[in-house]
Point group: C2
DNA sequence: TCCCTGTAGTAATTCGCATTAGCAGCTTGA
DNA sequence: TCAAGCTGCTAATGCGAATTACTACAGGGA
């Protein structure tokens, strides 16, 4: 009923070396300094036995006393590997894995979280959050109820992507500065001579969407047209854009931009000759288009990497700054040019 | 320095509910049956407190007594997420994740394993293998020393891909039947009229390579030409193939087939008109070629999936069959045709 | 001789949880 | 009337390793 028969414990090692379990532990942890001293010959004898038997300390028992287990949790709101979501999660995970490897941590994917209402939930009757020392959270949208609870429980975690405060308390994150990147693109368009801009996309809901709209509004003015996704179809949207005298369109998702571009082509309009078009971030789902869109590049691997670094710092109590925004790199592309008029 | 302040224990719950820690444990585990009885009102009071506080048992402490922790380890010999190895690992991981989710297990990626001699090693001074209940091993080649030790320690694990015995003891695996798939392709070529076949590729080292050669030899005969990868260049290999009167070439890796095909084209030979060519498995690195190769398809996701299922069965002591071979599906392609003359 | 300081190690305790044994208080049967 | 049985709960123990507190002994100075 117990563990595999071959499983060794410190007591076994102690017996074989003719010392106490305490001594084995001291040798293993190299505590020559702290109050306890071990004679070199005793030490060698113990090490010898350990080498012969291939003993390795049980990390679980270890964690019961220390608080760190060198395990970082990774929570995603959808499965990671299926190719549908792979394009979204993968770049983040690349950075996360690299960073975890560097800091000698293992990664625990919370695949066991049950799905409710089409989403995984962190908190469920048998959540295993505490197996990990802390956790990195990935997802376009993260329910604030879950964030509140994590914050309230003082559970160490870091979100990938900016998050609003939860219950008035700051949420740790490593995000991308969509506000600034979007504003810069508007400024660039303005420098080219554009005067009327439109924003197309959700603009609300997830923080990432809201931030883009915020940046747009900041640079384009509070009254610049904003067409949320619920506007009927692309042709309809295009009509409304043109009607408002807009010469540069800022689309949150590339698919949206592609749809609009097609509608424009159908109208005999060229891009960027007759209408400039800018996308606000890399495509997360592959889109078939020959257009090389002007926009910006989200530093996903760096976000993942720094999220882990931040988490490790937090775990070691080495930082008080728990929110970081990374710059997005603007991409040249060929869909933004001077306006026609 | 101690645990996160917000961390609750059964003792806390007990204090809040005015009962003993034992009672809390009994309620949590629904042990109304076994000797101990809990009055419904006590039970409800405890459950109420648990609900209010959101208490969740520490799975590690739990595992010290039971033997399972619902954590499955995943060991890969290279990082998982970088795109270089992603194409190889990804399909397996898709199946692994799916299966883990179904059985309510979390996945622990052993990213902390230090690299020695250009490879990760399972066993190192501070390996955390035992955090997981068992482990799935991925890798083209797995050092037999490591396998031997896993077997010797009675550590529950399953390899993805067939493995030779380690120290005369069988290694648990879920593999693909390369022997049979390769032999079938040779038979198919023979049915089309081919009589002389050649095998191009390592054919040794990893079990997957050896199996392909075994299948080839079984169907093509022990004396059919075998050109290992160390033969100089593609043109040279092609020359030797033609010299031997070979009409159908079986290439272990697609890149190899592409190189040969180019050499053949340079010689003015058409495929499959003048020379038939078969690849033995899906490309693991993207190859640029317009050829739609005849060959077989490795059921990678199913392999990952069944590896997890097998591991779970093993952990529950529910199986004695620890080796499974899955069939490969032959692909039609257009590089295998009747021989020329 | 007695006290003090070091040295080299061990016994005991701890972590959070599950389990076993057992203890009160009450009812029942003969 | 008293052992026997039932009920509802708790004290005690153990898992494996880390840590604290302590002991046994040697050597040195007063």
């Amino acid at each position: 009923m117990s563990q595999a028969p071959g499983r060794l414990t410190q007591r076994d090692i102690a017996r074989l070396a003719g010392v106490s379990q305490t001594t084995v532990s001291l040798v293993l942890n190299n505590r020559g300094d702290a109050g306890a001293r071990i004679a070199p010959e005793t030490r060698d004898r113990v090490l010898q036995v350990i080498r012969e038997t291939g003993y390795a300390a049980d990390p679980l028992a270890r964690r019961m006393l220390k608080q760190l287990n060198q395990i970082l949790g990774v929570f995603t709101y959808e499965p990671v590997f299926p190719s549908t979501s792979a394009d979204f999660y993968h770049p983040f995970l690349r950075g996360i894995e690299e960073s975890a490897e560097r800091s000698g941590c293992d990664l625990l994917l919370f695949t066991s979280a049950p799905v409710r209402d089409g989403q995984r939930r962190i908190f469920h009757e048998n959540n295993r959050l505490r197996v990990a020392d802390g956790c990195v959270l990935l997802g376009r949208e993260i329910p604030s109820t879950e964030l509140s609870r994590l914050v309230a429980e003082d559970y160490p975690f870091v979100c990938v992507g900016r998050r609003d405060d939860a219950d008035g308390r700051p949420v740790p994150y490593v995000g991308a500065d969509y506000v600034n990147a979007t504003a810069q693109l508007v400024d660039r368009a303005r420098a080219l001579g554009h005067r009327r801009f439109a924003f197309v996309g959700p603009g609300t809901g997830a923080e990432s969407s809201a931030d883009r709209l915020t940046g747009f509004r900041r640079a384009a003015g509070a009254r610049a047209p904003f067409l949320s996704g619920d506007t009927p179809d692309a042709a309809e949207r295009l009509a409304r854009v043109l009607e408002a005298g807009v010469t540069a369109v800022f689309a949150e998702v590339e698919a949206e931009a592609v749809a609009l571009a097609q509608a424009a082509a159908a109208h005999g309009l060229s891009i960027p000759g007759d209408l400039s078009m800018v996308t606000l971030g890399d495509p997360t789902i592959p889109v078939h288009s020959s257009l090389d869109f002007t926009g910006f590049h989200i530093p996903r691997p760096q976000m993942g990497q720094q999220a882990v670094e931040l988490l490790v710092d937090v775990l070691h109590g080495q930082t008080s700054v728990t929110q970081r925004l990374l710059d997005c790199e603007l991409t040249q592309g060929e869909t933004l040019g001077p306006p026609a008029h």
